[in-house]
Symmetry: C2
Subunit: 408 residues, 2 copies
Amino acid sequence: MRGNVIVGQSGGPTSVINSSLVGVFKTAKDRGAGKVYGMLHGIKGLLDRQYVDLSEHIKSDLDIDLLKRTPSSFLGSCRFKLPEIKDGKEIYDKIFEILEELNIEAFFYIGGNDSMDTIKKLSDYAIIISSDIKFMGVPKTIDNDLACTDHTPGYGSAAKYIAAVTKEIIRDGLVYDYPVISIIEVMGRNAGWLTAATALAAGEDCEGVDLIYLPEVAFDIDKFMNKVKELSGNGRSVVIAVSEGIKTADGKYVFELADHVEFVDAFGHKQLQGTAKFLSDKVSAEMGVKTRAIELSSLQRCAAHMTSRVDITEAFQVGGAAVKAAFEGDTGKVVVLDRVSEDPYICTTSTQDVHKIANIEKKVPLEWITNDGTYVSDELVHYIRPLIQAELSPMMVDGLPRHLRLEK
Amino acid sequence: MRGNVIVGQSGGPTSVINSSLVGVFKTAKDRGAGKVYGMLHGIKGLLDRQYVDLSEHIKSDLDIDLLKRTPSSFLGSCRFKLPEIKDGKEIYDKIFEILEELNIEAFFYIGGNDSMDTIKKLSDYAIIISSDIKFMGVPKTIDNDLACTDHTPGYGSAAKYIAAVTKEIIRDGLVYDYPVISIIEVMGRNAGWLTAATALAAGEDCEGVDLIYLPEVAFDIDKFMNKVKELSGNGRSVVIAVSEGIKTADGKYVFELADHVEFVDAFGHKQLQGTAKFLSDKVSAEMGVKTRAIELSSLQRCAAHMTSRVDITEAFQVGGAAVKAAFEGDTGKVVVLDRVSEDPYICTTSTQDVHKIANIEKKVPLEWITNDGTYVSDELVHYIRPLIQAELSPMMVDGLPRHLRLEK
């Protein structure tokens, strides 16, 4: 008989983070784990002894399939960074005390590069105190900015949602017989992977977006304005995608541009306005044309009604692979995805040392961005395309997608 | 052998406006029409003799089914108001000259209350000049603000999309263990039908939104702030839905509130900031809590990947009913939907005099809004629920919903 395991979710959620959760749960159960505990609100909740026995909440195959379709973190999330080991020995001792109380054999943490820092520190501390507990990282992030993995679970579904609604926004944006400049703002402070997914909209039935601006390339506002004027010169409508995090050459965010723009609220606070809103206001003012600013907002990470089946499946697999590796003795590792074949697309899992992954951001390679920085290469589109394939249809109840909610 | 017919689309598009287009096309063909012309960009394009023979663009049953899944107006749209007859006789003569050239027996216009004004004026003018051409209005608007009809095609799909993403935003908004105040901004300048649809999110698997503010009730910012403080007092997260058009008792839009807020761009233009953004900034500044402003934006009218089958079917039916009525001799009418049974929901079509509908806005009845103006009644939820039922799954090609685009 194996010991118990515990799993937590951390950082910004995705549409498929619960698929990884059931991947851990089901694989641990199938491989003979005792109890499978879920931390509430990640490591922060665990420190307050907030956890549940997952068997009391995932009771059937239906629950598993509902969880695969439920966005956001079923167990709740946290943004909590453990102190350096030398600065916070008492926190580490408390965590290990709780884990020992619960007879934990393996600890799984589903999160992005910040969360992998938790796995790194806990597995390091386990070595220091000669603990046998295994610590494994399960990757998730819509941002796709994790090192050492072909891509991250969560990215494919976000990319699919972004590409699908971009197609709809393009249809909507080209409907009138006068020019409309639509600017779509996509998540991504430092990495342009999500914004690049708007390139997938182009195809037999869609004109695609005209311009794509990623944070990897310095943004030149004058060149941008000239480009928009050139494109809409003949009176045609233009659709543009920008990352929220695009910056000018001197490192300023675009939404901070132009010091004579003042956005001050009733309390004297400077407001950070959206990038798309800033640019569309500028285009409107300078060119006198109709503009629209569309922020795709948090739906990019929670639109579970439009997920990629490939992504859902891989999210489940990385959860399962983490359990298998831990039960075989691995610790201080993160499960990663290796693309072993392009056509047909085949991806397998392996493990990497967490020290190679924690706190590192992977950006879009510059060779995948066109020379003038206004679009992405075909190679980038070919890289993303397999990740958005196939669907896991929502279970519709009384007209709406059904979710599974943790009953407390 | 019948004569030819012509159909146009006008005003803001919806996810199902093309279902009405194929309803007109297919029914006209089935009932023996000669050619079915499509005006490009509505009456404005027709004045420039811009039209197509729809048989050259809708060539198969596959095309019909793709069009049912294609958002925005296949034929392009316009926002063009005909002058009063006494002020623009030459325009009317030109339109009728073009219609006679094309041997038009019946003219169909798919649009909202502004577009019905076109049908009113053209049918009036037909009487004046003793023309036999029939003019029929086919209703569409996501706003649901048309008089004399139980609801409008386009509303059910927008309501379904809004309710579905509200559920996802709620899951996402409640994930952390500290309070987050999320404010969702929904379309609707004067009528709150769309915002009311956020009430559908509440159910066995969802907490629902906490507060709903419609433009039908004057918005009191102090009462709002007190309500938010009360709800989040225990540290819990709150999700709020507001119509973009909510106004204070003195008739000012909320986004225009507080004269000491200045949003001035580089060119001295005052910016109109979003309602949700304004409120979330105020909550954040006064309460010191994390807030999020989420504008559902144009996806409310173009998210064809999440439509209601009931809506799609009814949109097709009103197109077909308009053709049937015109071929039986009706003119100057609009097809409306009559709910003849609640349970089971059954809706039939009939026709109404366009003079009773054009230019009139139907608002949410005050008895369907709670006394304190912060939520909607169960009656309103029961009214909307049947309209969001069932799905018409997108046709997914290479990972994305497929559309039909007009080849020019």
